[in-house]
């Protein structure tokens, strides 16, 4: 896979260079130095005093197909975006990652198609996702990389249809991409097989769905505007993108259980801000009755959001997320005496405050997760300064905490860091 990435990177670069100067597509991108220092020593991971140290080069370009051919008639655009990274945390040689390599075209007035590697996002949440089950990278999120890296690309076919009553997005993802979750090398986490927060000592593995036609994932969104409000319904057929179920306890194997999700959302002006509501029903296909202690229960998730502009470049955002295990009595009856027990409900509140200074060149941001039911939380602080149109300096902190070690944020409590990113864009 890695080799394919590097090869396509080089081929595209070569193709661009060998094109006639007049046809040469414009290349943009940035180079960046990232560093994240741990706030407390974590001897469990590979390096006890930092969890991020890397240099990154991003290159992107787009090429609108011209000439006398069908792709030109279809307004086809080829996009490429790739990163080359020297990851000093792992002291390896550079690796590369193609984040976008796709062909977008419009075969008719009512149809858009995007084929290839692309980032996919929908839904109304802010750092919270119910009906967006496309892959995420939570290691990037917790270590302080740019927000862009929270979303992982998918190799997909996206077809958008625009008939009169409502718009339809249909996404086919032939093979599975998992969320990037802490695995112990860089970020310690709660490993139930070890019975506590674990780093490199973790021996657990997560088994991906086999690459076969029946494991293809489908995602569907049907949406439209009602005056100023936007309504949508969602459907997803695939797998839980995080490994939450147990395949083989003795072999310390987890797996990504089958998941069907059905949801809806509505977003629009409310009071003097923007309000949103989103819900999703997660059907755990392999644990239909909810009585399998090794497989995730079916769930109902609700998200309420509100964002307001308070003036003077100060914005406030609030969210409330409620998650309910739907077959809780069957689940709790099936538990064995030594099992970790999850609550039926999880309540999560978030607050976002953003303030801009100096003609919007300085941004102070705070994002706080707080779960009164899990008794944990995660405070994200950042300060970004646009030194010039080219240079940007970002400093910030990731501060997860929790009373217990098994909860989502509580298990991250040893990974508190302060980070800085210095970027030169071109």
């Amino acid at each position: 896979m890695k080799r394919v990435c590097i090869l396509s990177f080089i081929m595209l670069f070569w193709a661009a260079l060998s094109a006639r100067a007049a046809d040469l597509p414009e290349w943009n991108g940035f180079i960046e130095q990232d560093y994240g220092a741990r706030l407390s020593r974590d001897t469990l991971t590979k390096h006890e005093d930092y969890n991020l140290l890397e240099q990154r080069l991003q290159l992107k370009t787009r090429y609108a197909v011209t000439g006398d051919n069908v792709f030109s008639d279809w307004n086809s655009v080829i996009r490429f975006k790739g990163d080359a990274v020297v990851d000093e945390y792992f002291q390896t040689t550079a690796y590369s990652e193609v984040r976008e390599l796709n062909l977008a075209f419009r075969p008719s007035d009512l149809v858009d198609v995007k084929l290839g590697r692309q980032v996919l996002t929908w839904g109304t949440g802010d750092y919270l996702f119910i009906n967006d089950l496309f892959p995420k990278d939570y290691v990037s999120f917790y270590t302080g990389r740019d927000d862009e890296y929270l979303k992982k690309p998918s190799d997909a076919l996206r077809m958008s249809l625009y008939p009169e009553p409502a718009n339809i997005d249909f996404v086919l993802i032939p093979y599975f991409t998992a969320n990037t979750m802490p695995e112990g090398d860089r970020l310690s986490f709660f490993d139930s097989f070890q019975g506590g927060i674990t780093g490199r000592a973790s021996e657990r593995s997560a088994i991906r769905p086999a690459m076969q036609a029946e494991n293809a994932q489908y995602a569907l969104r049907i949406y439209r505007n009602f005056d100023s409000a936007e309504g949508a319904v969602y459907f997803y057929r695939g797998f839980d993108p995080s490994p939450r179920s147990y395949l083989d306890e003795a072999a310390q194997q987890l797996f990504y259980e089958r998941l069907d999700a059905y949801g809806t959302s509505l977003r629009g002006p409310f009071g003097s801000g923007i309000a949103s509501i989103e819900m999703g029903y997660y059907h755990s296909v392999q644990d239909d009755a909810g009585d399998n202690r090794l497989i995730e229960n079916s769930m109902l998730k609700w998200l309420l959001g509100y964002e307001q502009d308070l003036g003077n470049d100060l914005k406030l955002g609030l969210q409330y997320l409620c998650e309910q295990k739907l077959d809780y009595s069957a689940y709790s009856a099936a538990l064995l005496p030594y099992d970790y027990v999850w609550d039926e409900y999880r309540h999560l509140l978030t607050q976002r405050i953003t303030k801009l200074y100096k003609n919007q060149t300085v941004m102070l941001g705070l994002f706080n997760f707080w779960s009164p039911s899990d008794k944990d939380g995660y405070l994200r602080l950042s300060c970004a300064y646009d030194i010039s149109d080219q240079w940007k300096l970002t400093v910030g902190a990731n501060l997860p905490w929790g009373e217990d070690e098994i909860t989502d944020f509580g298990m991250m409590q040893k990974n508190k860091n302060v980070f800085m990113r210095l970027r030169y864009g071109f």
């Binding site: 003097s272 923007i274 964002e307 864009g425």
Partner: protein, 262 residues
Amino acid sequence: MLKKLMVVSAVLFLAGNACAQELSVDEIVAKANNSSYYQGKDGSAKASMVVTDSQGRTRQRQLTILKLNVQAGGDQKYYVYFHKPNDVKGMSYIVWKHVGKDDDRWLYLPAMDLVRRIAASDKRSSFAGTTFLYEDISGRSIDLDTHELTASDDAYYTLKNTPKDPASVEFSYYTMKIDKHNFVPMSAEYFDKSGKLYRTIEALEVQNIQGYPTVTRMKAADLNANSNTVTEFSQVRYDIGLQDEIFTERFLRTPPQQWLKE
């Protein structure tokens, strides 16, 4: 007979002139608002903005603006596509401007494929980090101020505009000089709550494009911060046949290339 005719036509001419002089304040304001923001059914322009701070350092913004009038003198739709600087290149922005209620705004961040709904009740915040405010770009509703004609000479009307809700804005009033011949506002001066001039906007160049007098170069200055922004509009075109669907999520995610070519 001939003499009589001449007298009559002279009287008519003077009367006509007098009528032109005697436009009501509301008519002047409406015509100025129209010439600033509502010319043509729709239009497109490339804007190149240079922000200069107190130490002489400059920043650049380059964007394409598409505009569609929904109602004459009322609601409008805007599509903004950012070409520069690099960190915002490829972002697109849609505003459904409403008169009498908050605008609807959406921002598309291509790196995350994310359509964000922007809560933006404060129209007097900086537009894209420049000295121009949102209201300078999309227009301040004329119903929000009371207008007085304070002077009128051969070339200009001078208006004083006082906000009906003083708490909602940072100025106590602003004056405007409007060109009598084409009703293009040539300058605006904003005074703070203590009556001190702190902000100016000037039209530096006006061109006639397809019969519409159009400001093609303008400057906004913040006298307190000692910074300014000069905006140049190029490739200005009116009545290009923009469709309503351009101003939807579809084209936010897939920018309409035919209107964005350099």
